[in-house]
Structure formats: structure tokens, C-alpha cells
């Protein structure tokens, strides 16, 4: 059952990302990506990480993709996309992808000792995760909040209309 779920989720994820790469319309790209993120959330749930699965769906598939869709709505795509100039870049990029595949196959071969172990049954419950997050990892947590404030202020300052006096 779990293997069937894994196959379903991973095939949907890979398929929707392929659709995102092949699709021309940015809005459809964003919708494909939302589907892929929801599938990734399901995969996190399969790996006994329910809290991360919910965070993935709420923050990634919800908040971040809403930002993307807002920006896509604000930009005039037809005006923004000038006609295609040259497509030769496809072949070198596929070559780079092939090199990356070979590298990753080597890396996966090196971690043979993991291939026998299974995904364990211990549940990373939100309770334990929260306890660790607010005791051992309190300092990174606070730094992350400062980072988010900085990003918020930075984003507002960047797109603010300058008043020409």
C-alpha cells in the first residue's frame, strides 16, 4: 500500500514538473508547480514527517505560490515575452543535465549501506518537533525571524514607488 502511494505521488510529481517545463503559459506553470508541491507534501507524510508535510502544503503550495500567481497577474506576459531568438541553448543544457545525472548515480552508488535500511516507523510528531525547535534550536529560530523581517522590509523598499519631488 505504501509503495503504491509512493509510486502514485512520485509519478504525479515528476509528471507535473515535466508539464511545468514544457508549458508556455506561466499561470499553468504555477498550477503544475502547486500540484508538484502537494505531492511532495504527501511524500513527506509517507516518511513520517506529518508536521513538515503540513508546513509544505500551507507555506509552499499556499503562501509562496500565491505570491508567484500575484506577480504573474501583475506582469503583462505578452508584452514581457519578446519573440524567441535562438534555441541552441537547449542542447548544452540537456548535456549539463546528463552530466549531473551521471554524478548523482555515482553518489547514490557510494551510499550502498543505506539501500538496505527502511524508512523507520518512529513518528516525528509536532509535539517532539516543537520541543526541540524551542529548546535546542531556539537561536536559529530567532535568527530566522529576523531574516524574515529583513526580507519583508527589503521587498517593500524594492518595489516602492519613488516620489519624485
Amino acid at each position: 500500500m505504501a509503495v503504491f502511494l509512493f509510486a502514485l505521488l512520485s509519478i504525479t510529481c515528476i509528471g507535473s514538473i515535466t508539464g511545468m517545463i514544457l508549458c508556455k503559459n506561466q499561470a499553468y506553470c504555477a498550477l503544475f508547480l502547486i500540484l508538484a508541491f502537494i505531492c511532495t507534501g504527501g511524500l513527506f507524510g509517507l516518511m513520517n514527517a506529518p508536521f513538515i508535510a503540513v508546513v509544505q502544503i500551507i507555506i509552499y503550495a499556499g503562501a509562496i505560490m500565491v505570491l508567484f500567481i500575484f506577480v504573474i497577474m501583475m506582469i503583462d506576459i505578452r508584452q514581457g515575452l519578446t519573440p524567441e531568438k535562438k534555441r541552441w541553448i537547449v542542447y548544452p543544457s540537456l548535456g549539463i543535465g546528463l552530466i549531473l545525472v551521471i554524478e548523482l548515480i555515482f553518489v547514490l552508488n557510494r551510499i550502498q549501506d543505506l539501500s538496505g535500511t527502511n524508512v523507520s516507523e518512529t513518528v516525528g510528531s509536532p509535539k517532539i518537533l516543537g520541543k526541540i525547535l524551542f529548546t535546542k534550536y531556539l537561536y536559529p529560530f530567532e535568527i530566522t525571524s529576523v531574516l524574515i523581517i529583513a526580507a519583508l522590509v527589503g521587498a517593500i523598499v524594492l518595489v516602492k514607488e519613488k516620489d519624485n519631488k
Binding site: T40, I75, L158
Partner: protein, 100 residues
């Protein structure tokens, strides 16, 4: 249960797809989406290793990665809007001011 190596293979496949998509696509928004796909691939690998070693550290790291990705998306999309305002285009090849 599912072997860990399956998740690692899926993570590798997603990372390669994100890289190839980033190189193939021409508009900044879709390229940015491909970067998010690559981040997700790394997250899958983190969670897989955390589950196989029964430790919670991997999940904590993924939590921080997701938070930083949210901040990064806000700033990145603001920069894309700024590029569009100034150049009236969102194709990355048209922003070649520093090309020699």
C-alpha cells in the same frame, strides 16, 4: 516499508529536472519556479535521511529551509517586478547589461 534509496532517487530526478528547466526556460518567473523545485528535491533527501536514521534534525533543517525559501521568494519576486518595471521584459536573456 519503502526503502530509503527510492526517495533519494526521486530527489536526484527532481533536482536534475529543476536544473535542466532552469537552463531551458527563458522567463525569470519560470526559472525561479525551477529553483524552488531544486530546493524541494534537497528537502526530500533531508527528510529521507532523517527518517532512515530516526533523528529529527533533518526535519528541523527542512523547516528552516522552507522558511528561508519563503523570504527568498518575497525578495526574488520583488526583484523580478523591478526588472519588469525598468525593462518592460521578463526574459533573462534581455537583461544582458553586463555582457562584455
Amino acid at each position: 516499508m519503502i526503502p530509503t534509496i527510492y526517495f533519494l532517487i526521486l530527489s536526484a530526478v527532481l533536482f536534475v529536472m529543476g536544473t535542466v528547466g532552469f537552463l531551458i526556460k527563458k522567463d525569470l518567473i519560470t526559472q525561479f519556479m525551477c529553483v524552488e523545485v531544486m530546493l524541494n528535491a534537497a528537502n526530500i533527501a533531508f527528510i529521507a535521511f532523517a527518517a532512515s536514521s530516526s533523528s529529527l534534525e533533518g526535519q528541523i533543517i527542512v523547516f528552516f529551509v522552507i522558511t528561508v525559501a519563503a523570504a527568498e521568494a518575497a525578495v526574488g519576486l520583488a526583484i523580478i517586478l523591478l526588472v519588469y518595471k525598468q525593462k518592460k521584459t521578463i526574459k533573462s536573456e534581455d537583461s544582458s547589461l553586463m555582457k562584455g
